[in-house]
Amino acid sequence: MEQEIQDYQIQNEVSQSSTDEGYQVKLEIFEGPLDLLLFLIRKKKIDIHDIPIAVITRDYLEYLEKKEQINLDREAEFLFIAALLIYIKSQMLLPREQEVSQEDDPRQILVDRLLEFQKIKVACTILREKEENQLLRWKRTFMPPVAKPDELDLLDVSLFDLAETFFLIMKRKERENFRVIKGKDVSVEEKLKEIVDYLEKNGSMDFLEYFSNQETLEEALVAFFCLLELVKNHTVIAIQEQLFQTIRVWLRKDRPHHLPHGQSHE
């Protein structure tokens, strides 16, 4: 059984080498000289640590002469390694007095390079597999839509929006034959406290509703002034759900401990 496999492999190699040129061109163009050297070493089943330098040099030069298998842009680089091989061969021929130690072996420089290169080649095949797998995965290249919060599009309100809304309300009130009752004095301090108390109790306040419920114009004006103060000193936050709609007012969680003073002057 084992014999059969070996026979098959030998046959296979024979058939490969018989159509050598076609086979090579189809399967492999050597990117660089180290590629070619590794190929020759594997083909001859040579131990990389003990390369028969004469044999390899001959094979290598044969390939260079055929040229079909090499990347011609790289010719100089192939020739450089050829020169290195010949140099090593000549060093090997020099008579030596004793067994060469590994460091003195003129082949060592080539062996080190081949080992490193071989390692990289194997890493490449592993990385290639990973690459192929990753190329089949797709990530999004755009930002997915982000859901709108339940309370619709919230706009942070400027003081201008606030004032404008107020005057719109006041106009409406006027049209409704707003009754002006003189004589009831409302202090700013009282109103501030009233608004904050209301917010503390109810969580939030509907701006429109609150003002509509003011009994007198004076009271409404004082209330409006108070609200501006509360926004300004960050006690409350005012949010308009959509343009031209009512403004909701909340107490800020990080509000200052003290209410604003009624008078802006000292």
Binding site: P33, K45, Q118, I126, K130, L135
Partner: protein, 182 residues
């Protein structure tokens, strides 16, 4: 399992186009015990591991990312009407592997290992943002020094450089090859 936490992680990973790192997650969420976070992330990954899911949460380049599963590649390409993505040339892959294992490294050093000039491959890799210039070497001529990028990790689905094929793995493959030849 903290289902609420899992749902939030799902949202955060979902809206990120790049792998979402643990640091970023913590920055967003504030105080969450590490174990709870990891358990929720794992549960999330398991949710999507089932065959009845077409997308999944992968761990890559040090973060978490939603991608489609490989087996659905053809449908994505049909929808987007694009060809198969092209692979790196073998020269570029070789150059990239050398940089990955030997970084930081100069062009001359790369070329020495490959035995061929690598300028063109370097250019391709720079353009694909798989490598970057990180400075200069204190050596004659002050050559530029290269490193792999985050995108490199993502490109190969590696979580970190530690995930590169290891010495032993390579040795094992070489051994197997040797035996299959002889």
């Amino acid at each position: 399992m903290n289902e609420q936490l899992k749902a939030i992680l799902e949202v955060l990973i979902f809206i990120s186009q790049e792998p979402l790192t643990l640091e970023k997650i913590k920055e967003v969420l504030g105080e969450v015990p590490d174990e709870e976070l990891k358990a929720a992330l794992q549960a999330l990954q398991e949710d999507y591991a089932s065959d009845s899911r077409g997308i999944q949460v992968i761990q890559t380049a040090g973060g978490y990312l939603f991608t489609t599963k490989p087996e659905h590649d053809q449908w994505v390409r049909r929808l987007l009407q694009i060809e198969k993505k092209t692979k790196l040339s073998s020269a570029a892959l070789e150059t990239l592997s050398i940089i990955a294992y030997h970084q930081p490294i100069t062009q001359a050093e790369i070329s020495a290992i490959r035995g061929v000039d690598s300028t063109y491959s370097l250019k391709t890799l720079l353009q694909k943002k798989l490598i970057k210039i990180v400075g200069r070497k204190k050596a004659p001529g002050n050559p530029l020094v290269y490193r792999t990028t985050e995108r490199f990790l993502q490109y190969f689905g590696l979580n970190s450089l530690d995930d590169l094929p290891k010495e032993e793995e390579i040795a094992k493959i070489l051994e197997e090859e040797k035996q299959s030849i002889s």
